[in-house]
């Protein structure tokens, strides 16, 4: 296992450090997702296509039921499209096996969830170490990198606190540190402020903005106009399709959320 891990890591670093290779981080090509429940078929995504380039800060916005959660799951390799293609850093992940998808999630994507999803039994540092554990990084290096990531999100003094001993905002910052620690191609944040008060929410949004400014690709999924406004670009989704240009929909739905 460790041999293939090492080569994967090497390859990853090479693409990152090679300025000549500037492929889009994400290419979504005519993606459909159909859920079947008995004889009932629901098309959650109906031919979605868009591209996100390295270093972009994109918000995917839409009301509930629009298909944005489905899109987020597919972008995060947590689910596979029924048809169409998804290229992550040029690699087609839409037909990968579960094992391969696990590796892609581990190396290319950093998740920030609405529910934080930290393990209550582990302290902040151990939570941040988790993705490195599955990447096969040895113990000492895991610790160093996790501490650095926590320092980065301003929690250098909270490394041995368990999630229960941290505020919501702090927990979400631990989650952001966990998303950063593998140095992924993409940080995928699903309603990251949905469970936070406005002060903590601003904190986390500032942090994501900062990450973007330092050159990271951030994709934000939200139904909240204000949150989406923090991004450079908004991809609107309604009824499973990419919607009208930003301004039009923003004018019509500006007060929603």
């Amino acid at each position: 296992m460790s041999l293939s891990d090492d080569t994967a890591e090497l390859r990853l670093e090479r693409t990152d450090t090679h300025p000549a290779i500037r492929r889009p981080v994400i290419e979504v090509i005519d993606v459909w997702k159909t859920y079947r429940s008995g004889s009932l078929e629901v098309d959650a995504l109906r031919g979605v296509s868009f591209t996100i380039d390295p270093g972009e800060y994109v918000a995917v916005m839409g009301p509930s039921g629009s298909g944005k959660s489905t899109l987020m799951h597919i972008l995060g390799c947590l689910d596979v499209p029924t048809s169409g293609q998804l290229l992550l850093a040029g690699e087609d992940v839409s037909r990968m096996t579960e094992e391969e998808l696990a590796h892609v999630r581990n190396r290319r994507i950093g998740f920030v969830f609405q529910q934080f999803n930290l393990l209550a039994s582990l302290d902040a540092c151990r939570n941040v170490e988790l993705p490195l554990l599955y990447a096969g990084v040895d113990r000492a290096e895991r610790r160093v990198r996790a501490l650095a990531a926590l320092e980065r999100v301003g929690l250098g003094d909270r490394v041995d606190h368990r999630p229960g001993e941290l505020s919501g905002g702090q927990q979400q910052r631990v989650a952001v540190a966990r998303a950063l620690v593998t140095d992924p191609d993409l940080i995928l944040a699903d309603e990251p402020t949905g469970n936070l008060d406005s002060v903590s929410a601003r904190d986390v949004m500032d942090l994501l903005g900062e990450l973007h400014r330092s050159g990271r690709t951030v994709v934000l999924i939200t139904h909240d106009r204000d949150v989406a406004d923090a991004s450079e670009r908004t991809v609107l989704i309604r009824d499973g399709r990419i919607g009208e240009p930003t301004a039009t929909v923003a004018g019509g739905r500006g007060t929603a959320g």
């Binding site: 094992e99 999630r105 969830f113 999803n117 988790l130």
Partner: protein
């Protein structure tokens, strides 16, 4: 992720859920302890019964008169016939006829009143010959036993059991004293060893309370049997415990032919053996072992179901965790391995603690209850193996299923 990391992750999960881990271990532990103790009690009882029966002497056969049928067809009850004679005993004593019979003692007995001076005592008076001592496996503490000369001369002598001697003579030396047996004065020539009532044979109520006189003296002076030659039982000692059944066959065949009986069902005598008691006892306690094994099995089953429930609940409440770990890059195989480590650790710790507690219980409990407990290594090993197997099956199987769920479904579960 390598095996060491998997192992460490599993151990951490066990350590970080202290209450749940402790309950699981407790469930396994109690199951194992129960199995070890119940099986141990059963085996202890079995050994105890076995050794007590062996102490009775397992190579003894007793021939008693059977039912008789008179010429008018009236059947008498068991033991009513006086069909056994001194001649039968003599015939059985022949090495030619019955090579597997070691010693034969004809005996006849009755309850008689013994009087020594002003003291009287009613006891069983046995008329027999010198081989009685060998057949019964007794020894003398004082004086001598009846010899052939006493038998030939119908000597008016008696040998007393320890209790009888004490009742009649107190602390005085009984040897040489005179005691009236059913009105006949007899000289006490010896005292039998004391064997205690716990190992009493089925034929004599208390082996320490009896008086033995020469068979000829008993027939002539005391009992007045219908025939002077009839005896109430013939005691046969096989040459060893192994030849008991051969001795049984030989005695049976010889007596049938002596009595001119052609069909075995019409036999006018009954041969019983201590072996029959032994085999009955063995089968009784085999039943006991099965019963206790059943109880142990049920306690293991109950313990196992407890472990199963805790494991299932634990995995179910951790489906979110499994989803998260998968989202962060854990493959289903890694998840399964982690749960395998957790289940094995819980199973082994519970199993070993249970075995230790069981062995300690087996050492301590016999001081509180009267039954011995024998720890059976097979039962202990089996119980531990089953506990670990239950833990693994019910810990890993649902975890494996959860690991196959799409991570997003697992993450969404509450």
């Amino acid at each position: 992720m390598n095996l060491l990391e998997t192992f460490r992750t599993g151990l951490e999960a066990v350590a970080s859920h202290r209450l749940r881990s402790a309950l699981t271990v407790l469930g396994i532990m109690i199951g194992i302890t129960a199995v070890i103790l119940t099986v141990g009690l059963g085996e202890g009882a079995q050994q105890q019964v076995g050794s007590e029966i062996t102490a009775l002497g397992s190579n003894l056969l007793t021939v008693t008169p059977g039912s008789s049928t008179s010429s008018t067809g009236v059947r008498g009850g068991f033991g009513s016939a006086s069909t056994l004679t001194v001649g039968d005993a003599a015939a059985l004593d022949s090495k030619v006829v019955a090579p597997d019979i070691g010693a034969v003692a004809p005996a006849t007995s009755a309850s008689e009143s013994l009087v020594a001076g002003t003291t009287n005592w009613t006891t069983t008076v046995v008329g027999s010959d010198p081989s009685w001592l060998t057949v019964r496996g007794r020894t003398m503490t004082e004086g001598r036993f009846i010899d052939q000369r006493d038998l030939a001369t119908r000597a008016e002598v008696t040998v007393l059991g320890a209790t009888t001697a004490e009742e009649l003579f107190g602390f005085r030396d009984p040897v040489g004293q005179t005691v009236d047996v059913a009105g006949q004065p007899m000289t006490v020539i010896g005292v039998l060893n004391s064997v205690g009532s716990s190992s009493s044979s089925s034929t004599v109520a208390d082996p320490d309370d009896q008086a033995v006189v020469p068979l000829t003296t008993a027939s002539a002076l005391l009992f007045g049997a219908s025939s002077r030659n009839s005896v109430s039982q013939i005691l046969i000692q096989a040459t060893s415990a192994g030849t008991l059944s051969a001795a049984y066959q030989e005695a049976d065949a010889e007596l049938l032919s002596l009595h001119g009986i052609t069909t075995a069902t019409a036999a006018d005598f009954t041969i019983t053996s201590e072996q029959q008691v032994l085999s009955t006892a063995t089968s009784v306690d085999r039943t006991l072992t099965v019963l206790l094994g059943g109880i142990a099995g049920i306690s293991l089953l109950v313990g196992g179901i407890g472990v199963m429930n805790i494991m299932l609940v634990s995995v179910t409440e951790r489906i979110r965790e499994i989803g998260l770990r998968k989202a962060l890059g854990a493959t289903p195989r890694v998840i399964r391995r982690q749960f395998l480590v957790e289940a094995s650790v819980l199973g082994s710790v519970g199993g070993i603690l249970g075995a230790v507690l069981g062995v300690v219980g087996a050492l301590v409990l016999p001081h509180l209850i009267s039954n011995p407990i024998t720890v059976s290594p097979a039962a202990a090993v089996g119980a531990i193996a089953i506990a670990i197997a239950i833990g693994i099956v019910f810990g890993v199987y649902p975890a494996g299923r959860a690991a196959k769920l799409p991570p997003i479904d697992a993450l969404r579960s509450e």
